[in-house]
Symmetry: C2
Subunit: 420 residues, 2 copies
């Protein structure tokens, strides 16, 4: 039997336009992967009457209701109370959860728990508790009158963590079959080109299925298989993976990885090499992505953010003649930056980024969107020129950081690095 879910986001800040309802997308993507239909999203403010109305409407249209938000410690967080009234559930204090919250404050945050956090430990009697390892508000799920109600906190990283750890397992039990998904990651090809190459095949697929999701400058392909067992589903996904690699080639860089930096980390670790970064227009973004990986210090020595030209010369030792002759944004400077950061940090591999993120062209008139990626390796120094065109500053920076890691991963896997 196939289920129908409805998503209700609670939060006045959504109705005021202060934040975007990204939770609805995260939940919808997960539900469609689980083979659960979603026909409605609703957003209401921190208002019990309207939330009750939304719940009454939703219970008539769906047999699964997912809510986000309104589980916080403040007085306008009324989701639990309103849901319990609507579905005639008793809200009871869970002493063990209260202890968790109290100890999260005392041992983790080293402050006493504010008393109004007590209400976060109140949950519907007999519900399935969704614990919150990254925050204080727990979520939960219960069934009443044939409707499953799942409550998640509003902060997206808390909601997503809880969805993966507790929500998806709970939902998977409701649908009889096993659903397995794999995210095939690509960099260097636009969504429309990927779509052109794969559309005909994708449109013919029913199980497994294949769908594209575009992130800025990356395209993620989600392959999903339904089967009786996980092994069976996994086996069904292998030919999909092979077909995608055959069709798209080297733009495919990994499966179920967070991004290019993670792939570089794994390759460097395997090869016993260390990396350093020298950044101008990305201003530390590449370093930050590398050090976001737990255990990054095994392969990443450090880097220099040479934002001023003087820092390129004095800290990285880029020869003044090169800076004078070619300018700070040039292939020659990119190469010298990469070699320089290897020299000063002792890393085996150095990657550099110098370009114009805007809003204005550089003093020599290099236009916005031009970025040079330098790569210094034991086998020699390379350079890739990227022209992103006149995009928004943060888009250009993000794209340039991606190119930097793409250059590193292509060199580590024996592919040409200068072009994609």
């Amino acid at each position: 039997m196939s289920h129908t879910a409805e998503i209700i986001a609670v939060g006045t800040e959504l109705l005021l336009g202060n934040i975007t309802n990204t939770n609805a997308r995260t939940l919808s993507e997960s539900l469609s992967t689980l083979g659960i239909n979603v026909f409605w999203h609703t957003v209401v403010g921190d208002n019990p009457e309207r939330l009750r109305e939304a719940l009454e409407i939703a219970r008539r249209r769906a047999d699964i209701i997912l809510t986000t938000g309104g589980l916080g410690p403040t007085y306008d967080d009324l989701t639990k109370q309103t849901i319990c009234e609507t579905f005639h559930q008793k809200l009871v204090l869970h002493p063990d959860i209260l202890e968790d919250i109290r100890s999260f404050y005392e041992s983790a945050l080293h402050v006493p728990m504010p008393e109004n956090n007590t209400q976060q430990a109140e949950l519907p009697e007999g519900c399935t508790v969704f614990d919150n390892p990254v925050g204080t508000a727990p979520g939960c799920a219960f069934e009443a009158d044939g409707v499953h109600v799942l409550m998640f906190p509003g902060p997206p990283h808390e909601m997503e963590t809880m969805l993966r750890r507790c929500g998806e397992p709970y939902l998977r039990k409701l649908s009889k079959e096993v659903i397995v998904s794999r995210d095939i990651m690509t960099f260097g090809m636009g969504e429309s080109s990927v779509d052109e190459l794969l559309h005909e095949t994708m449109s013919k697929m029913t199980n497994p299925t294949l769908a594209t999701y575009a992130k800025p400058s990356e395209v993620r392909l989600r392959a999903t298989a339904k089967a009786a067992t996980e092994e069976e589903a996994n086996a069904m996904l292998i030919p999909v993976w092979e077909m995608v690699c055959k069709t798209l080639g080297n733009v495919v860089y990994g499966v179920d990885v967070s991004g290019l930096a993670e792939v570089c980390y794994a390759q460097l670790l395997r090869r016993g090499l260390t990396l350093a970064t020298a950044e101008s227009c990305t201003g530390g973004m590449a370093a930050e992505r590398m050090t976001a990986i737990p255990g990054a210090s095994k392969v990443y020595r450090g880097g220099v953010v040479s934002y001023w030209t003087s820092v390129k010369a004095e800290v990285l030792g880029v020869p003044q003649e090169i800076l004078d002759a070619y300018g700070a944004v040039s292939e020659e400077t990119a190469r010298a930056m990469a070699e320089g950061v290897c020299r000063v940090t002792g890393a085996d591999v150095g990657v550099s980024v110098t370009g114009v993120a805007g809003p204005d062209p550089d003093e020599r008139g290099v236009p916005v969107g031009i970025v040079y990626i330098g790569l210094a390796t034991p086998e020699g120094t390379f350079c890739r020129k990227m022209d992103s065109g006149r995009r928004r500053r943060d888009r250009i920076q993000g794209l340039a950081a991606n190119h930097a890691f793409d250059v590193v991963r292509r060199w580590l896997t024996g592919l040409p690095v200068e072009t994609i």
Copy 2:
């Protein structure tokens, strides 16, 4: 008389989680500044029955309905037809619009107009046409049975362009009052503590209002006033600002700013000082936040990501004796890093971050969550010790970067920096 609007987004791709409903946020933000209440967002797929249901529900709750999406040329673009049926409007072909679309294809896209684009030129009889300078689908607005219906295309840049050019002028004619909001930014006090201090006052306020929004490690207070004129509304917000500053004190760091880095940027610019960063556990996050600001190069020289201890010694010149005696995560090292980065970059002010982001304690057993912030200034060197406790790695890094900028902004504004 104050109006109530409801936003209905049409598009199956929203329900599948392929895209996020950013249009709802753009519309909500615009409506709230126009003083129009928004109590509901709804998303439905490309399905006439469910769109009709959404419209029937909305017309009972609101006197302004805004729709996005479903105006395209393909067979599943049924918004106009469904709305016209629901509100008993006649859909008629507008020859002048058909000409616009045809010439958009021929002159801009250099291809003949596909015949199925003809239906894009069909609009409700006697409606106000919203022309679309950046796409082919025009929007429109009409009034029926006391309800104003506004239709916008789905692609965000087309929707937003049309909203500014046609939608907002149309809505401004309907609403009498202006709403002005100010975001009061705080750092260093948790949401529950802020709430405890302000709840009683906030709950008594009706106009202006005050609401708290928590971001990781920051609390934003939004003060909103409704009045006949913008000047009047602005004047009403001054006492709110004064009350919040009086109640919360120095944790308040600015109004309508994106974050602590932006406040530091403005202060440094005003004082004619330059900044450099030396980061260990934040791995470039502070540098990245600084360089996210357009024009950052006016005050930010650059930085060093001294992830390995050897980089602290060789690039930043932290004395080996200090590293041996106190370890990489210590007050002494933090101070030497800040002084070192000023020396190598020539910056007036240097801020450093060294700590343990986890998952594991450092080799000397310093626990996860301990971070030292060093600050080197012409007036001497300072240090703040932060103990965030065992949070998630990225939260510790984000919090540490915030502390770094908080130390800088407190020094720049003559406040003590060692403690909050």
